[in-house]
Subunit: 477 residues, 2 copies
């Protein structure tokens, strides 16, 4: 039994050292590994399978709204990157530069895309002529590179996988509508599929995307009380269109600039899943995103009929993503391993269960056990997976709400940030000076101005001047 | 009517200039466009949708054989690339080099992956310890960069999309078995899904992959009689394992080197589909890979009931990938456009058809028309799509066979290559000198030593010495 526990014991407790717990889970659940290139990662089969599920579900939702997938080159010539002033200032310090092709130096160096606004704009300038060509609703799945100084698997790596949507519209209204539509799509996806509640809101000017008129964000709260920006949607207005000269002939034959948006989600979401749902036994995956939803562990598998029955149950459960663990490890080891990997439901089946025509279902999220008849096991497993999905969202929401505080003056604000990890809701005057001061004193940043505004007080929590917006503040990944 | 023909007339006839015809089809069918970076391409929605279908079907077949997807970094440190001698010699001259990260020069430059053997080996060296860890059956979907001098959309571009499988096995036999298994998987996919017959065989030493012990290939014949290498599968033996020190503890506790394979298919396949099936009206897509299988064109669509009926038919055909073209273009224009895009079946429905409870089905591949009752249109369309898929394969096979020649002496060989575009089957002594001479004189290369060997003569077609192998020769893309 001691040996069986080894796997679990190898994880640092999250209460002792959350950062180390996170790294342990990433490694022990075999989601990813470090690569030879500093700050880059190898995404292993179990990590990549989660990403494939995210892709599949997001892609389906995108396409339902008329989005089409395309692929742009991974290189951006330096002159192209420089066309939009704010954008190049935001990204140039953190791109990787290609200077040689084969044995020859390049005439103009190129960066590996940190994001592809410039490439899409360059393409749209050639491809959009008339109002008939609008809207363009393009998306691509690819990897991008940002040469970060400090990196952490999934959360901040020099190369990461993502999708980036880039749309062009005839009017400002349509662009704004699409920006909000995609933010809501992201939020619904996080809540319905990842069981992760999010705050929907707008970034302050200080925190918005380089080149955007407005950036909208969804913010989630991790188990340690830190915030994680989980998806963003930007409205560019006609700023890029003017920089890249993207014009179309309107119905009245006048030339008009298009209005653009972009929106993205990344492999960072895998980090979010770990930090929202994980526990001291490892990963806990919501059923709708789990590569394996059900693992069947035979007990005394060498006894005649046990393995046969396990495979029989697998066939009965074939509507789910199900596996039999028939390896030669001990059941205890298998239990630990399936917990570490976060498999939502474990089915235990042994000689006694077979005799009684039953099996034991064990929930990963609560460790609860449930004995069910083999006659209706498929139905029971289906119900249980639904319950787990629902409960995980509710639990995460309750945790988030219990760690969301209100502060109405600066002392209270500082005290709360320092003593109670979580979101702090507080009023703000709208000045960057107050954001800067708050960041300097507390290391917290404005996460967003939520769509659901509340009037907590009339005064800015920092300077006391008249308040304009309620803001969610927090320390963030 | 003249105006309706414009789209089609814009294509160069394939008999006049095949290369120009190809470029015209790529552009007019809106598969891809040129990018700001020379030699790179923008894959547009219709091109990318074909790639997604290829991915979907290949990925399903891979997973059925136990393959798992992963993701490796896109960068390779120079020292890592240099670990296997033949490999670095093969690839170093054509890689793109990253020398700066952000504002700082890198301590060691990195190339953008031209292929990822070195990264997988580096990972396997850390990840494989015991025979229990074997086999590793990993694959990744990504883009790679090869700094080619002359480029053509899909066929040869500096960046292209592909999958690369990398496996590690306990024994040489198992590695060879996997190499052949994947080659056959590729060949079956080409024939069953792309309706593209291929020759399965082995590359000569001169033509094999840099670092491989044996390279297997599938070779297809394009409409102009040139060959296209459409997929390759490599057996590395333990060469990479020795260079990267990838050892495992066998059951008897001895340390053994693993045996490895790799195999890949690329967006080049889209070029193959165009050049095998296309005609002077544009693209012709096999139903199983077509993003749209059926387009419904309403005739006199402003007449009451016509559009309603078109959408009603769409609903009846919802098992297929079906679209209604209800744009304000003329029916003639819509016909041309659906032909240009290669949509396998067109359904024409007008007031007279409705009166007679019928519709007209038009095959893209043969232009044949078929009047069917609306009562069983779904069944008829299903049958027609199957027939088209089958006929396209047979037609391509007949074309290939009609353009496959035999040469038994050098004069005949040269004359055939020069006068009859296609494959030439001829015997070969096994010496690279003869391959070099044939290439120099005719620009033809050995495409493969087919698994299906024939004894055409006893003598090498080039030097007259005793023949060892029958080889397919041809000029190639």
């Amino acid at each position: 039994m001691a040996k069986d526990k080894k796997l679990v014991e190898a994880i640092t407790s999250m209460d002792v050292d959350f950062a180390q717990w996170y790294t342990d889970v990433v490694k022990k659940a075999e989601l990813c590994d470090y690569a030879s290139v500093k700050g880059c990662m190898v995404i292993k089969p179990d990590g990549y399978a989660i990403w494939e599920n995210i892709q599949h579900e997001l892609d389906r939702r995108f396409k339902e709204t008329g989005v089409q997938n395309v692929y742009m080159p991974m290189f951006i010539p330096e002159s192209l990157l420089q066309k939009e002033k704010d954008h190049v200032e935001g990204f140039a310090p953190e791109v990787a530069w290609v200077t040689h092709g084969g044995l020859e130096p390049l005439q103009e160096r190129m960066c590996v895309r940190p994001t592809s606004e410039t490439l899409f704009c360059d393409f749209y300038a050639k491809d959009i002529h008339s109002y008939r060509d609008l809207p363009k609703l393009y998306n691509q799945w690819c990897s991008v590179v940002r040469w970060e100084k400090t990196t952490r698997p999934f959360l901040r790596s020099r190369e990461f996988l993502w999708q980036e949507g880039h749309t062009a519209h005839a009017t400002a209204e349509e662009a704004e509508e699409r920006t909000i539509q995609m933010l809501n799509l992201y939020a619904d996806f996080c809540e319905e599929v990842l069981a992760m509640p999010v705050i929907r809101g707008q970034k302050t000017d200080k925190e918005k995307f380089a080149g955007a008129e407005a950036t909208y964000t969804i913010e989630a709260l991790m188990h340690d009380g830190k915030a994680l920006q989980s998806g963003t949607s930007h409205n560019f207005g006609d700023g890029f269109a003017k920089a890249f000269d993207i014009q179309y002939a309107a119905k009245d034959n006048s030339l008009q600039y298009v209005h653009q948006t972009s929106w993205g989600m990344t492999t960072r979401l895998i980090g979010a899943i770990i930090m929202v749902h994980g526990d001291n036994n490892g990963l806990v995956l919501p059923p709708r995103i789990a590569p394996t939803q059900v693992v069947i562990v035979p007990i005394q598998q060498k006894r005649e009929g046990v393995l046969d029955k396990a495979f029989e149950i697998r066939d009965v459960l074939s509507n789910f993503k199900v596996k039999v663990d028939d390896s030669d490890k001990s059941p205890g080891w298998k239990f630990s391993e399936s917990e570490m990997r976060g498999i939502p439901v474990r089915v235990e089946i042994g000689p006694k269960d077979i005799e009684n025509n039953q099996a034991v279902l064990v929930r990963r999220d609560t460790h609860e056990k449930l004995t069910v008849s083999l006659d209706n096991i498929a139905e029971e497993v289906g119900k249980l997976l639904d319950t787990i999905q629902k409960d995980m969202l509710e639990r995460a929401r309750a945790h988030r709400d219990a760690h969301t505080y209100v502060a109405t003056d600066f002392d209270e604000f500082v005290k709360t940030i320092n003593e109670k990890p979580g979101f702090v809701k507080a009023m703000w005057c709208g000045c960057q000076e107050c954001e800067d001061k708050i960041k300097e004193v507390t290391a917290a940043t404005s996460r967003c101005m939520p769509f659901a505004q509340e009037q907590l007080s009339d005064k800015c929590v920092c300077c006391g001047k008249p308040a304009k917006k309620m803001v969610y503040w927090g320390r963030a990944y």
